[in-house]
Amino acid sequence: MSTAASPTVASSFVTGLATQLRVIHAVALRETRTRFGAHQLGYLWAILEPLFWIGTFWGLFALAGREAPNGMPIVAFLATGVIPYEIAMKTADRCANAISGNKSLLFYPQVKTLDLVIARGTLEGATYGAIFLIILGGEALVTQHFVIDDVLLVCVGLGLGCLFGTSLGLVLCTLSVLSNSVERLRGPLFRPVFWMSGLFFTAESLPTNVRDFMLWNPVLHCVELVRDGWFASYHARHASIAYVLACIVVLLFAGLTLERVVRAKVEVT
């Protein structure tokens, strides 16, 4: 874009960006109130849910007498599986509902459909990033062992997970404007991902043919990346940042295009 050539284009971009950031900030703040508004424990639920999953799998592992692979501590192993999964799929889930949950906000001319999705994606990313720190920090306090192998890789894994979730959510959210059945299909479509994202196994431990199939799942790549970064003893040989990025680019392109297509329909209703 030749922004330098025409100052009006550049200035409109800057003012637009300022407005958009303000809108996203406001919507995200509002979301913190509404997200768990109905529940008594409020925001605490966000941290209780991953803890519940970690506890369940911990119990199952203990019953089966299984150890976490590659000498990883069991709680940290499960936490690095559950939270990247949640950061991707919970974000997708929340973003998919962004329009239907905030339709009234679209009454304000400054608020666009994309802002709602971005606000939810940002909020979920920040929430689960904080939860990641709290749970693994707590684990470190208990075990007195806190060594992160590669901080940047952990951030990349979580960031890619959040971006993937947001892009997927954007696509689903725009599609749900076109057809109601998308919302119905979302649950059954998301459920297998829970079992296929390496929450309680590593890609390394799978037989080749199963692994080749599982690696189509970008969430598994994110989980593997986070584990690679977190544990010095684990190397995610099969995780590919490029693959996740490709998924994000395709989904984002589809989502942004669809958003243009459906925006008229949203504003009418």
């Binding site: 971009f13 666009k112 799978l206």
Partner: protein
Amino acid sequence: MTGPLPAERRSSTAKDLRRLRARRLVLRMSLGVVLPTAIASIYVGLVATPEYESVSSFTIQSADGVSASSVELLFAAMPGSSAGRDVLLVQEHVRSRAMLQHLVEAHGWLEHYQDADVDWFGRLATDATLEERYEHFLDKVQVEHDTQSGTLTLLVKAYDGETSKRFADAILAASEAMVNTLAQRAREDRIELAQTELDRAESRLTAARTAVLAAQNEGAELNPMASAAAILELRGELEAELARARAELSAMRSTYAPTAPEVVQQQQRVRALERQLDAQRGRLAGDEGRGLSEAIARFEPLVAEKEFAERAYGSALASLEVARVEAHRQHRYLVTIAPPSSPDAPTHPRFWYAVLTVFVASFFLLGIGTLLAASVREHAQV
């Protein structure tokens, strides 16, 4: 020109706007999509040095034949089966810096990839650090592990078919050498242990035998136990004889006069028997420690030691035999399933694949950028 009609003006400005938009779109597309695609196709199609890929596959076989049972397949990645673990070891070895070092030193790895004929992007810089060389090495040599069949597939990329085959051959040979050393060492360790055990038992047995022999020399008694048994038997017989003689004597005394020649004779017989018995007792117990019981006391531990040593020697011999069989059974060797192919046509880079990837990626990225920028600018129009 006279002033045109307002409707015409509106339509002309609309047309201008549309033309402006179209021109912008064309500019954007040509900069963001056509240009990268063109660059990519020029590079891939004309500049890039084609690469040949040599494919081979191999596995590690153990003499016991069972590399992975059907149950183990379920837990294929659990390093339970040693054959499966060996495959992983070889995979690690192929991907190691030591392998790169070996290729650099013995097979002219650097010379091939730093060749001036290779295009600038693909070429390995002459001043590349060890880490850069290793990254480059991992890019050119790939080894995939199929957990189900336990085979390894080796892919080697080079700038001509001959060389890729040569490198693959070298890697296979080095891996085979490693497997052999590994198996050899395990086998030697095991047999060596059994051999030392056998040597110890042997020297113990020899020592025990010498001690027994020395004691025999000293006491001039070949087998004191047997002599003692003979004496004991003799003594028993003498005692029985004596008892019978005494009984006869007392019977004679009641019928004959005490001076009768029969009685005297019998008395002499009894006395002779008593003397004989005393002599035998003396031989057994002995005076001043020269008797048989002394000799037995000296012999007994030596004989026991000899017996133990014999038994230990026997078991050591058996365990050496077992170790030999076991070592032979656990012998591992590298089996080449498919020897390195000698490719006759380049496989990398794939022209259409690369160009299409660049086209689609740049198109999508441009689309995302445009749409995001537009959505930002929307906010300014309110």
